[in-house]
């Protein structure tokens, strides 16, 4: 933060060590669950019962992962979480694509073609970011029923698109607001129309905000549990719901290693995204951090 010269006294050096100690200690606290999850997921059950949480596996095995993927029981059925993992993708990919596309168009229309009432419309839409979703659950269930989308993947895609547009619109609006209006004016004078200006002038410079929006929507929808548990059937439920069912299935022997492997499987896609595009992830968080 500063470049001011300070005297390197003993006290100052001790303080510096203390700072590092606290920072590393906290890092261990944050890492502990991940490490334990990983270790447990490759240990046989006997080793878990006998040894400590942090003990390294004596006989590492991938069997729990295999079982979690294809055999573990989630409620009544014992087919593992693999199928639900793909379910999640079937929900996430269209929902992310549609909501990001609509958000981009909305953001563009609301900032670069400022018609009367644009601010009011934006404010009203933005409110969708803030509501507790409990307040829409029951009507949503009825509406999905009317639309014939109850318990379907398409139904969940619809729900995520509807409540995702508020965020994507917010992202793109804030991004496009910072792009000079004169660019659009120049294009208008050059003879380009609404869609042409979007396609030729705005889109080519929108890559960063597309990444932010896609990552944010991906993480949110992948991690969703409430909509998944409320609006899906057995065959269509996302991986988070399957994981929860699996862990809370109380029949037979509790296989902690399989639970942890399943948790790892459910966590991996978003962790990979975080590691690969952490910068954009943080940007999305701070911009759209209003969502719980």
């Amino acid at each position: 933060m500063d470049n001011v010269i300070r005297r390197r006294t003993l006290g100052a050096r001790l303080a510096r060590w203390a700072v590092y100690a606290v920072l590393v200690g906290m890092a261990l606290f944050y890492l502990l669950p991940l490490v334990v999850m990983l270790l447990t997921s490759v240990k046989p059950l006997e080793e878990i019962r006998a040894g400590s949480l942090l003990a390294l596996p004596q006989a590492p095995t991938l069997a729990p992962w295999v079982k979690a993927w294809s055999e573990a029981c989630t409620g009544m059925r014992c087919e593992g979480v693999g199928g639900y993992f793909w379910n999640s993708f079937r929900i996430v990919i269209p929902a992310v694509a549609i909501s990001t596309f609509l958000g981009a168009l909305n953001g563009y229309a609301l900032t670069k073609w400022r018609f009367r009432g644009a601010d009011l419309i934006f404010a009203l839409m933005l409110f969708g970011c803030f509501i507790p979703f409990q307040v829409v659950l029951l009507p949503m269930a009825r509406t999905l029923g009317w639309l014939g989308l109850s318990n379907s993947t398409a139904g969940l895609v619809l729900v995520h698109v509807v409540f995702g547009i508020a965020f994507t619109t917010l992202f793109f609006r804030n991004f496009y607001v910072a792009i000079p209006n004169e660019l659009v004016s120049a294009a208008k004078l050059d003879g380009a129309g609404f869609f042409r200006i979007f396609w030729r002038i705005l889109l080519p410079v929108s890559a960063p905000i597309f990444v932010v929006s896609v990552i944010w929507q991906f993480t949110q929808i992948w991690n969703d549990f409430l909509f998944g548990v409320a609006f899906s059937a057995f065959e269509t439920q996302p991986v988070t719901v399957a994981l929860n069912n699996m862990v809370n299935t109380s029949t037979g022997v509790k296989e902690y290693n399989v639970d942890m492997a399943a948790a790892m499987i459910a966590a991996l896609p978003t962790l990979v995204v975080y590691v690969l595009a952490g910068k954009y992830f943080v940007r999305g968080l701070t911009a759209g951090s209003v969502k719980g």
């Binding site: 120049a186 208008k188 004078l189 050059d190 003879g191 380009a192 129309g193 030729r200």
Partner: protein
């Protein structure tokens, strides 16, 4: 033939009226400059001409055709923006050709136009660069190139030089002037820089509060200002306004100036510049407007000896600018600025003798700020 005609244009933003029934007519090939302080409505007028903002009422005609309700594209106008507004994702070549592409000009013609414009503005080596790889001056050229490629009916320039450094600004100013002389294009040019206005314009429209206060050649606007605002806005350092009392009678008016701690100064008004309105102001307060260059050193002979009145005053500040010296001295209730030659040797506190050239002085009414004579 008028290239652009603006009739009674009015523009409201909510409750504020930004343009108050502005009317203006520009001849084909004319270089018109809109000048005024920020918030005077000049940029709004520009945007209204371009069709970027709809007007509240009034009419805009381009080449005799009513375009008031046309889109910007339908008006066939090109504009150079203050921020240049180059499309960041396109190369210089694509930037210049974009307008032609949108108008479905065949590729070969587009390339020809790009080459012609690049040659004209000497930006051929830059054609395959992106705007982010250009300097400010280069961007400015590309922005002009984009406008020139299309050969529209009218060019609009919105403070095109204000983002350049001082030296580049002077260079580009000259270049724009040369381009205009060479191409004979119709140009409407917005600036807040009155030197740009004086040097470039065929005619200047001085705007304030949504009105055009004066429309005239640079010489008219500078030497024959319509009111105190125009007089004060044009010229740097700006015109001195001195409170005085009008005495005497037609043919022999005098302006009497009271300066604290100094003898009263009486300046005879040149009889040939009398106006009939002056009669009603006899014995009343008026505002005398004198530009800094209307003062001169005592030993320089004025063209009309009789109108040069001697003024002796102590110098409060002396500011050499290199080419000449600006002196501040008390006159009337405040201080005035006088521009004198660089050879005069004075420092603060010295008394100087200056002659006042009344042949170019102007008089205003103190309340309405309108021109009296």
């Amino acid at each position: 033939m008028s290239a652009l005609e603006i009739r009674q244009v009015r523009k409201d933003f909510g409750a504020t009226r930004v343009l108050k029934d502005v009317s203006l007519s520009i001849d084909s090939g004319e270089f018109l400059i809109l000048v005024g302080p920020s918030g005077c409505g000049k940029s709004t007028l520009m945007n209204s001409i371009a069709g970027l903002e709809p007007v509240t009422s009034g009419q805009i005609l381009i080449g005799e055709e009513d375009v008031t309700w046309c889109t910007p594209a339908e008006r066939d106008i090109a504009m150079v923006f203050q921020s240049y507004a180059l499309y960041p994702s396109m190369t210089v070549r694509q930037n210049i050709a974009f307008g032609l592409e949108m108008r479905k000009v065949p590729k070969a013609e587009r390339e020809e136009a790009v080459d012609r414009v690049a040659d004209l503005l000497q930006i051929t080596p830059l054609l395959d660069r992106k705007p982010s790889q250009l300097s400010g001056g280069q961007r400015q050229r590309v922005a002009m190139g984009r406008a020139l490629a299309r050969e529209p009916k009218i060019y609009l320039f919105d403070e095109p030089l204000s983002n350049l450094d001082a030296k580049l600004r002077v260079e580009m100013r000259t270049e724009i002037k040369k381009l205009h002389l060479r191409l004979g294009t119709t140009i409407v040019y917005v600036t807040h820089d009155q030197i740009e206005a004086m040097t470039l314009a065929d005619r200047i429209a001085v705007m304030r509060d949504g009105h055009i206060r004066q429309l005239g050649t640079p010489d008219e606007v500078y030497n024959d200002p319509a009111d105190m605002f125009v007089a004060g806005f044009m010229g740097s350092p700006s015109m001195n306004f001195i409170n005085a009392t009008l005495e005497g009678d037609a043919g022999a008016y005098r302006l009497v100036i009271e300066t604290p701690d100094a003898p009263r100064l009486t300046l005879p008004w040149p009889a040939h510049r009398d106006t009939s309105a002056m009669k009603e102001q006899i014995g009343r307060r008026v505002v005398l407007g004198l530009r800094p260059e209307h003062f001169s050193e005592e030993d320089i002979r004025l063209t009309d000896q009789a109108e040069g009145t001697l003024l002796t005053a102590p110098v409060t500040v002396s500011e050499p600018t290199g080419a000449d010296i600006l002196l501040r001295l008390p006159l009337g209730e405040g201080e005035v600025t006088a521009r004198v030659g660089p050879k005069i040797k004075v420092k603060a506190g010295d008394r100087v003798d200056l002659r006042v050239d009344m042949s170019r002085a102007v008089l205003f009414m103190p309340d309405s700020e309108q021109r009296l004579a």
